[in-house]
């Protein structure tokens, strides 16, 4: 019943207020998703949209605790219910994730770029047109597309594919929610660490080349390999 969306301000979890959609059941569902997703939510800034659900302080706190167990930070809860809004304020959280900015974190500069809807497969994407620098993390539940370089020390974490029209020298984790069909492509594919779903590999040092070719990393028969990237 719940759904997860990538947004300008971070990650948004949409709850359902349909009849029969209980808070407890939806929290269980969220818990299952968090557990499946491995490290995807670690250090992420999250907001909730609970629609018209009327929730007590304890119920909201349960969601906050659950996210914190997975090392994510809850900073806002959007709601159309007065009691829920009042309780959100009592917790010291923001009530309008679209209007307010999430707290700034030195170590996780969330992209200010707007997500886009990919036509090809219906999965959301994040388009970034700049250099992704050391210390910056881009995180999106769908695809991440970078037009520019990804420098060493930067980190891309995508639920689906990662495409870099430039050099990929940082860390890349595609299919981070367990999708082993995800791919990582770059014009110069030399990440410090390359992960797809639950597989990790290092790119050999001797890959430094004068004239790099576009390449794609993907999992074929349980093995991660790098292929020439020919569209």
């Amino acid at each position: 019943m719940i759904s997860i969306k990538g947004q300008r301000q971070g990650i948004l979890i949409l709850f359902s207020d349909a009849e029969g959609a209980t808070w407890a059941a939806q929290l269980d569902e969220l818990k299952a998703k968090l557990e499946q997703s491995g490290s995807f939510f670690s250090k992420a800034r999250m907001s909730l949209d609970v629609k018209t659900l009327s929730l007590s302080l304890e119920e909201l706190q349960a969601a906050k605790n659950l996210l914190e167990e997975h090392r994510a930070t809850l900073w806002a809860i959007a709601s159309q219910n007065d009691k829920t809004i009042a309780n959100t304020r009592r917790m010291g959280l923001a009530t309008d994730p679209n209007k307010e900015d999430p707290p700034a974190l030195v170590n996780d500069v969330v992209a200010k770029e707007n997500p886009f809807a990919a036509i090809a497969d219906g999965t959301d994407g994040l388009l970034v047109q700049r250099i992704v620098r050391s210390g910056q993390t881009l995180r999106h539940p769908g695809h991440i597309v970078v037009i520019g370089d990804v420098n060493p020390g930067a980190e891309l974490i995508a639920g689906s594919d990662i495409i870099v029209w430039g050099k990929l020298y940082g860390a890349a984790h595609a299919g981070s929610t367990g999708n082993d069909k995800a791919v990582v492509c770059a014009l110069d594919l030399r990440p410090t660490i390359l992960r797809i779903a639950n597989m990790t590999r290092r790119v050999p040092e001797d890959k430094k080349r004068k004239h790099p070719k576009p390449e794609m990393a993907k999992i074929v028969r349980q093995e991660m390999n790098i292929y020439e990237w020919t569209p």
Binding site: A104, V106, V109, I131, R133, S134, G135, Q136, G148, D149, N151, P152, G153
Partner: protein, 261 residues
């Protein structure tokens, strides 16, 4: 007065931030500008030493923020370079003594009277850095031609972009053209390819810097050496003059033959 606040930072320590700040500030003052150079490295202040003004400090920026003096009283005039003033940091305190809001308020008070306010940032990306860049209109990042310093410069450029300080400009310090040719050192092109930032100056490695720093005499005061010239060129670019970037040589054949000025 149309003032410009420039923070000079680097991420990594020991790349030459303080020497660079002292020399650019002095060069700007020698061009007739009214300049303050502010030391934001509270607890590890050095700018006063590089400028040779250590024994003239009575009050510092923390004294001002905590209300023990007027800002004017904390400024120390360097008589060698026209209208050049040092705003020293406290040595007996730490980076928590001034917060970003206090820093902005303090620097704003100087804006009416000075053309340029240069802030020497501490190394690192923690509170001291955040305080030093808070009032900046422009950020200059000093890097050396080696991988770890370039990596830290990348980090700091990203942070100053996130703080919406506009694109940071680069000063490549301590380059040695002979070692670049031998591929011991990164070249200017290698560095700009990684960082994608505009270079505002390239300063050659120069033995003169060490001795001038120890004597408290910025090289731009009286040297004809290549580093001094590079700092003067940066100052001219800061005021908007069009000075082409030249790759400095570390002593040409003729300079070596006749000894350096």
């Amino acid at each position: 007065m149309d003032s410009v606040v420039i923070t000079i930072t680097s991420g990594k320590g020991g790349v030459g931030k303080t020497t660079t700040t002292a020399n650019i500030g002095t060069a700007l003052a020698l061009m007739g500008k009214k300049v303050v150079i502010a030391d934001a490295d509270i607890g590890l202040r050095n700018l006063d030493i590089v400028l040779g003004l250590e024994n003239r400090i009575v009050y510092d920026s923390v004294d001002f923020v905590e209300g023990r003096c007027k800002l004017r009283q904390a400024l120390i005039r360097d008589k060698r370079a026209g209208e050049l003033y040092l705003l020293p940091a406290a040595q007996t305190r730490d980076k928590t003594a001034i917060n970003p809001q206090q820093m902005i308020a303090m620097i704003n008070e100087l804006r009416d009277e000075f053309h340029y306010i240069l802030i020497d940032s501490p190394a690192g990306i923690e509170q001291g850095f955040q305080v030093a860049v808070a009032p900046a209109d422009r950020v200059l990042v000093v890097t050396n031609p080696e991988v770890s310093s370039v990596r830290d410069a990348d980090r700091v450029i990203g942070l100053s972009e996130a703080l919406e300080k506009g694109p940071a400009m680069l000063i490549i310090n301590r380059i040695n053209s002979a070692r670049v040719r031998k591929k011991d050192m990164l070249s200017v092109e290698d560095i700009t390819e990684i960082l994608g930032s505009q270079v505002i100056g390239v300063v050659p490695e120069d033995e003169e810097i060490l001795s001038s720093t120890n004597r408290g005499q910025p090289v731009v005061l009286n040297s004809k050496g290549s580093a001094a010239q590079a700092y003067r060129d940066i100052a001219r670019r800061i005021v908007g003059e069009n000075v082409p970037l030249t790759m400095p040589s570390n002593g040409s054949f003729w300079q070596k033959l006749f000894g350096r000025a």
